[in-house]
Every structure is written in C-alpha cells, then in structure tokens.
C-alpha cells in the first residue's frame, strides 16, 4: 500500500467529557486525501469541541486515536503541535490584524517564530505577489487589511493557512496537509462565495484536504465531497455529498423527520400593536414586524442572517439606514434613533454581551440596577442612598436574585443571577417594548427556567417582548410567534403549534437553503 492511500487525518473513538456532560461520544472522522469534507451540526452538537481537540486546545478523554498520513500520533496534541503535523485553521474571525498591511499579515507566523535582522520588504512583497498569483488572486501586498473587501480578507487568511501547511509538509507531495475552515462564509456576501469555493477546490486538488465546518446546508452541499453530521456529540452518519438529499441531512442534523408544513397566519391579536416598518441597515433589508402588547415574539435564523442586529437598530445602539417604529401612538424614525430617545419612547434592551454592554462588574449590584432610575432618589440633600439600597434589595428579591444584597459586586454573582438582575434593572421601569438578545446565554438550567417565567410575566403585565436568539428550545419555550430570517429579510413566521424546537430549526435551515442567490443577496449588499 502506498502512502497516498492513507487518509490525511483519521480520528477514532474520540470522546470528551466536560464536568458531567459528554460533549463528544466515540466520534470517528476520516478525511481522505484531496477531499473537501463537510462537518455539519447545530450549535452545541460538538463541532467546535472536535476542532479544538485537533488544534490541541482540548485534551480528549482516554482511548482516542489519531493517525496523520497513516502515522499514529499520540493524543492529546500540545497546543501549536498541529502546525508541525501539517494542519492549519481558519476561524470565523480570520485572525488578521486589520491595521497592518497584507504582506505583514502574511508574514506574521515567520516574524514571530524566526528572527531576522534584515527583512527585505521588497523581496517579501514580491514573494507575496507570486504566492497570490499561484492562487489566481490579485491582492496588493501593500494594502491595509482593513481596506480589503471582506471576501479578500477571508482569501488572505486562507492563503496564509495554506502557506503554513506547505512549509510544514514534505515538498515531494508524499504528505498531505489539512486545512480546517471554521464557518468561513458567515460574514461574506453570497455573490462572492463562488470565488472562495473555486479556491477551496483548487487547494483540495493540489495541496491540502479541507475540513469545512458550517451549519449552512446549502453551502456544504455545494462545496463538499463527503459530509459528516454530528448531533449531541455523536456522529449521525458520513455520507457522500452526491448521494445526500437535503431532507435526509436535515433529519440527521435535528434528529427527527418532520411532516410537510402548512404555514397559517392566524394569530391571537391581543393588545395594542407596536410596529417596525421598512427597517434597513448594514445586514438587514426592509424588515417589517408587528408586535402586540403582551406578546413574546422570537426572531431567529442562521447566524449571519441579520436577525441579531434588529434589537440594536431599534434601540438606536447601531445606526439604521432607514425604518420607522410606531409605539404608543407615536412614530419614531429609526435612522435618527439614539438610546436616550429609545428609552424615552419606552424601549428597553438587554444585550447579549453582558460583560461588555450590560453591567459594570466592578461596581455594586445596587449601583448597577439603580443606574436607570437615579433621578427618583435625588432629593434636596442629594441621593437618598439608604432608600436606593432598600428599594434595590426589594427589587432583587422580587426577581429572585441570589443573594439579593445590593452591596455585592455585580461580578460576584453567577451568570444566571446576573441576568435576572439585568431583567430587574430594565423591567422596573415597565417598558412598552423589551428587546432581549440571547437572554439565557451562559446561564444555568434553573435560572434559565426563571428567566423564561420572568419574561412571560413581563408580557402578561403588558410589555411587548422581542426575543432574539439561536436557541430554538428557548424560543419554543417562551414565544407566541417566531419570525425566521434569511439573508437579512423576514422569510417565515411560525405560530401556534408550529412552535417547536425541531420545527424552528428545520425552518432556519430550509430558509437558508431555499434562498436562491439572485434576488435575496440585496440585503447583504445594502452595506
């Protein structure tokens, strides 16, 4: 048997346990020489854990085996060992330094590992240009990365990774490398994907096999030779792409066959309506939504489909190009929206990045939750601190924040209690419209249930709630309606008994799949 017939990478019996829970369970994955291999699965299915084992970030449980080009390699890998094994990774964030030039980014590996006292930038630029030409690319080595198109940035990251593989594998072609692309297209305009895909094919044919990690079914069907599907940490099958039907794949991903769906638009129209019309921004195009008082509406879709930007546009945290918000009989132009204006209109926002946007961890719980209502405590002799503290204590108790002690530093609380306190901060002012973005991220199971109840209670008290999330189970648990986005537009609306975890997941994949590139790219290009 010649070396060429060995798989580039073969993983066998890989398991990984975090605490008590199994993230990966006896996973086998074989990547053949010259193939593009798709790795599909929902968030939390174990995709990223598997990749982190390959990159040496996680150590797998005992009993796993790894072979590279037919040679057994002992596990776990040391961090960084993947380089000498001929592997390279391109993550979604690409790992480029935007303020530096193309050639500097290309050389960053060399510059940090080797010492050179006489860099000739002229020579390096020439070499970079030759490298790009060999890929059929026209990139200016002097250009600043931040000035490149998103697609060119992705291509640069890929070229850099392939060059790294070439430097670490035998020149005679007896060894083949592995390029891992982790969700590389999420932020790219669909029209440029062909460019990316043709390079991926060329790389696979000549230099390195490719592991293409994605949750976009459509892309995976287009670019890969074989597909492995993970669900709940187990391999649910490896199939040849040419023989795979998308129904079968969806079923493998979400674990259940679904009957044909009839979309009915009947809905309980409860209280007064709040409407958003014609909302257009960087990632969304002409979005119109109606939310009623007392209703919880979910917004979802695959990552990058624009839905996650909606709350920030409505709250004025990011500028929208156009759009109107009608609320309590008034009309607001979303183009000129600012957070103070949104607050005055009765809109609240609980952002997903709690540590960065939601709280100041080094200040006390009381200071954090009373920030919005300080004026209430301003008296002739200054802030009434003891009343602030006792009110904050009562508020925290009402939202079951444990312990309900306003003097504690915010960051000393667990994630669940931090989030409950965030809800307390915003709900004490009884907003008309509350925007939640991933409200149970990093929250334990018990607190998650409480947050669901608090959200439903807020709705029952007359607040219109929008919950933006990719957590389909959460959406199924709290929403009256779920709106599915595809490429920056509203694509589907689910109501009543259509709202199940599986149905929402299925719709997200189908929406992404059914969007033909022609007319729906507009949203991405509106930038």
């Amino acid at each position: 048997m010649t070396v060429a017939h060995h798989p580039v990478v073969a993983l066998r019996h890989i398991s990984k346990t975090f605490g008590g829970s199994r993230a990966l369970d006896d996973v086998d994955l074989t990547i053949r020489r010259g193939e593009v291999h798709g790795l599909l699965g929902e968030n939390g299915s174990g995709k990223s854990t598997l990749i982190k084992i390959l990159s040496g970030f996680h150590a797998p449980d005992g009993g796993g085996e790894l072979e590279i080009n037919g040679r057994p390699v002992p596990l776990p890998l040391h961090p960084g060992q993947f380089r000498s094994l001929g592997m390279s990774f391109v993550h979604q964030d690409l790992g480029l330094v935007p303020s530096l030039s193309v050639v500097e980014n290309l050389l960053v590996g060399d510059l940090t590992s080797k010492r050179s006292w006489r860099l000739s930038w002229g020579r390096e630029r020439r070499r970079a240009r030759e490298t790009f030409e060999s890929f059929g690319l026209q990139l200016d080595p002097r250009a600043k990365v931040s000035d490149l198109r998103p697609t060119d940035r992705a291509l640069l990251a890929i070229v850099r990774a392939v060059e790294e593989i070439r430097a670490n594998t035998a020149a005679d072609g007896s060894e083949y490398g592995l390029l891992v692309l982790d969700e590389p297209t999420v932020f790219l305009p669909a029209s440029d994907r062909d460019e990316l895909f043709s390079i991926i094919r060329e790389i696979a044919a000549t230099r390195a096999s490719i592991l293409f990690v994605s949750h976009d079914l459509d892309e995976v069907l287009e670019i890969t030779d074989r597909i492995t599907v993970l669900r709940d940490g187990q391999v649910r099958g490896t199939v040849a792409t040419a023989e795979a039907s998308d129904e079968a794949l969806v079923e493998m991903i979400i674990g259940r066959r679904l009957q044909a769906l009839s979309i009915d638009r009947e809905q309980a129209e409860a209280g007064k309506a709040i409407s958003i019309t014609g909302l257009t921004g960087r990632y969304v195009r002409d979005v119109s939504l109606t939310i009623h008082e007392g209703e919880v509406v979910g917004l979802t879709g695959l990552l990058g489909s624009g839905f996650e930007e909606i709350p920030y546009y409505v709250f004025g945290a990011r500028p929208a190009a156009a759009g109107r918000l009608e609320l309590n009989g008034k009309t607001y132009d979303l183009h000129g929206m600012t957070p103070p204006r949104a607050l005055k209109a009765g809109v609240g926002l609980i952002p997903a990045d709690r540590q960065r946007d939601g709280i100041v961890g080094s200040l006390s719980l009381g200071d954090n939750v009373t920030l919005r209502v300080l004026d209430k405590y301003q008296s002739r002799i200054g802030l009434n601190r003891s009343r602030m503290r006792s009110d904050a204590g009562k508020l925290l108790e009402r939202f079951d924040v444990r312990p309900p002690d306003p003097r504690l530093k915010y960051q000393s609380l667990s994630g669940g209690n931090q989030q409950k306190a965030m809800l307390a901060k915003w709900l004490q002012t009884k907003p008309s419209l509350l925007l939640l973005h991933e409200p149970t991220q990093g929250v334990d199971v018990g607190a998650r249930q409480q947050i669901f109840q608090l959200t439903r209670k807020a709705a029952a008290d007359g607040t219109a709630v929008v919950c933006v999330s990719t957590d389909y189970e959460q959406l199924a648990a709290i929403c009256d309606r779920v709106v599915v986005f595809g490429r920056g537009r509203v694509a589907r609306e689910l109501t009543g008994d259509q709202i199940t975890k599986e149905r929402i997941a299925e719709q997200c994949y189908r929406v992404a799949e059914s969007l033909t590139d022609s007319h729906l790219d507009a949203g991405r290009e509106a930038e």
Binding site: F315, A317, P339, P340, A342, L343, L349, P351, R356, D357, G358, I359, V360, G361, S362, L363, D367, L371, R372, L374, D375, Y377, Q378, I381, G382, L383, N384, R385, S386, R387, R389, R402, P403, R407, L408, K409, Q411, S412, L413, S414, N417, D444
Partner: protein
C-alpha cells in the same frame, strides 16, 4: 450630615468590614501618621511645631484643588493634562490684569474662571465631537497654553498682586492655618458629595467604567465627558487663582511643576478610603502624606531634589497599588449559588 447618610454609614461599618479591607482603606492614613510620628520624634524642635504644621497644611492648597480638578475627568475615564496650563494662564491673567492694568481682582478671577471653562469646552469638543484621545488633546492644549503664558508675560514675573486676593488666601488665618487650606478642604467635601451623593456623580462613574454600558443605559456619554472636562478647566483655573493669592505674584514657569504631583495624588488617593476608585478624600490624604514626607526630609538637610524623586516614585507605586486593588475588586471571589 443627614440621618439617611449617617444611617448608611453605620450600616456599612456594621457590615463587619474585614481586617484586610480596613487595612487597605486606611493604610495611607496610617502611613501619614507614621511619617508624622517618626519626624516628630527625630526633629521635635523643627518638625513638631505648630508653625511647621501650618506651613505644611497651607502650602499644599493649590495641589489639593488641582487634584480635585483632575479627579473629575479621571472618574469619567478621561485624562486632563492641560490642568497646569490652565493654572499657569489663570495665575498669569490675574498677575498681568491686576498689576499692569489695575483691573479689580474680582473681575480678574471671573475672567480666569471663564478662561478655564473655555479651555474645557475646547478640550471636550476635540474629545467628544472628533473622538480624539483625551490624553493627546489635553497634552496639546496644555502645551499650547504654556506658550500663550510665555507670550503674554514676555517670560517675566509679575509681583504685587492686590491684598484683596492675598489677604483672604494666605494672610488671614483660622486656627493658625492660612485660609487657603480651608478652601481646598471645602472643595474636597463638595467633590466628595458630588461624586457620592448626586446622580450626576454616579453617572460619571458609569461612564468611566464602561462607555458601552453607560450608553446602552441611556446616559448621554458625550455630554457627561464634555462636562467633566469643563469642570476640570474651571477648577484648575481656581487653583491658579489660589496660587496667585498664595505667592502674591505670577510667574510663567513654576505652575507646570504641579502636573506630576497632581497625578501622583490622584492615583495614590485611589488606593485609599475607597480603594480602586478615584476619590477626593484619598487624594487629600495622599497630598499631605507626600508633602509631609518631603518636608521632613528637607529638614534633615536633604536638598529639594528629593521632591522630584518622591513624587515620581509615588506615582509609579501608587498606580501599581491601585491596579492591584482594582484587580482585586474585579476578581473578587464568587458567591456560591444558594
């Protein structure tokens, strides 16, 4: 103090401050007392005299006021390096207008304070409207003002400022200490009250800790930062008035020497009283701790160069300590789920 506030103080103390916490909060006070005791024992006839204490307390009023000016933008997360430029120009305006043109001291003071506000407005415009780093902007405007001072003064010193100013600043005394000291003390109290007991003070703190959180909580972050820079300009101009009153003259260069001590006091103050936070009481103690040490050492015949070494060293150590305190504040152990 109001009932509510004294109640809250009692509550806070009643919480059972840990020993470590107590030591951290009052270490600087302890160090100050220790320095006083040591020098009093070693030099009872020169150091441990009421005139020496009066001199120590009275001499540092300018630095106390200037540090208070600096604390406001620091709390809001901005630097103001133009404070000494404002101080010197304010002092020089009073010197020239009063001694050369015979303009009333009171009008001079009003003009000087307006100048401080104008500098703050300009700083704020660059920082808020154009989004330029406050460090760079105020470094530039501060240097610019230094040039203005040399230009209008022709590098000369103007002596003989009216006793209408020097009288109520340095000549008149209460309990043997020049009134200047009490002006500084009053400002410390006002600023402490502002930062702790007004909603504006709380808002500034949030703006300084996280612009993003402040913005998404509906605070007008730009306006607050701008306001903080205007306040530091006005108060720094006030420090210049005091300086003119204490020296009875205006010289174009000596004011610049206050910049580093002001930063040293602000950062050293942030290790004390409310550790991890810029606070006026901590800075007040820091100012007097530093000057007491310096005065004591000079009584031993050590030259005035010790002053620079003292302030420079204190700044680096203070920032190191406050960084440690801040880190502790941020990484405090989690409360277990109940």
């Amino acid at each position: 103090m109001s009932q509510a506030q004294s109640a809250s103080l009692a509550q806070r103390l009643g919480r059972g401050m840990s020993i470590g916490e107590f030591v951290e909060r009052f270490a600087l006070v302890g160090a100050w007392i220790a320095v006083i005791v040591v020098f009093s024992v070693l030099k009872p006839d020169t150091f441990f005299t009421s005139s020496n204490f009066a001199a120590i307390l009275g001499s540092q009023a300018v630095l106390v006021v200037l540090t208070c000016a600096l604390l406001i933008p620091l709390t809001a997360g901005d630097y103001d390096l133009s404070i000494t430029g404002v101080l010197t120009l304010s002092q020089m305006m009073i010197g020239i207008l009063n001694t050369e043109h015979g303009i009333s001291v009171y009008l001079c003071i009003v003009l000087a304070l307006l100048m401080g506000a104008l500098v703050g407005l300009i700083n704020g415009a660059f920082v808020v409207i154009f989004g330029i780093d406050s460090f760079i902007v105020t470094l530039g405007t501060g240097t610019f003002l230094g040039g203005v001072v040399l230009w209008i003064s022709n590098s000369e010193t103007f002596a003989g400022i009216s006793s209408q100013l020097t009288g109520p600043v340095v000549v008149e005394r209460f309990l043997g200490v020049p009134l200047a000291f009490y002006y500084g003390l009053a400002l410390v109290i006002v600023l402490w009250y502002f930062l702790e007991y007004t909603s504006l003070g709380r808002q500034l703190l949030f703006v300084g800790r996280s612009r993003s959180v402040a913005r998404l909580s509906g605070l007008r972050v730009g306006r607050l930062r701008w306001g903080a820079l205007v306040a530091s300009g006005v108060i720094a101009a006030g420090a210049g008035v005091l300086y003119a009153g204490i020296t009875g003259a205006a010289d174009p260069v000596s004011g610049a020497g206050f910049l580093l001590p002001a930063f040293a006091a602000a950062f050293l103050g942030a290790t004390s009283i409310v550790p991890g936070r810029f606070n006026p009481w901590g800075s007040f103690i820091a100012v007097y701790f530093l000057v007491t040490g310096i005065t004591g050492l000079t009584l031993f015949g050590i030259q005035s160069w010790v002053q620079d070494m003292f302030y420079g060293g204190a700044l680096v150590l203070a920032v190191t300590f406050s960084q440690i305190a801040r880190r502790r504040e941020e990484h405090e152990t989690s409360v277990p789920e109940t």
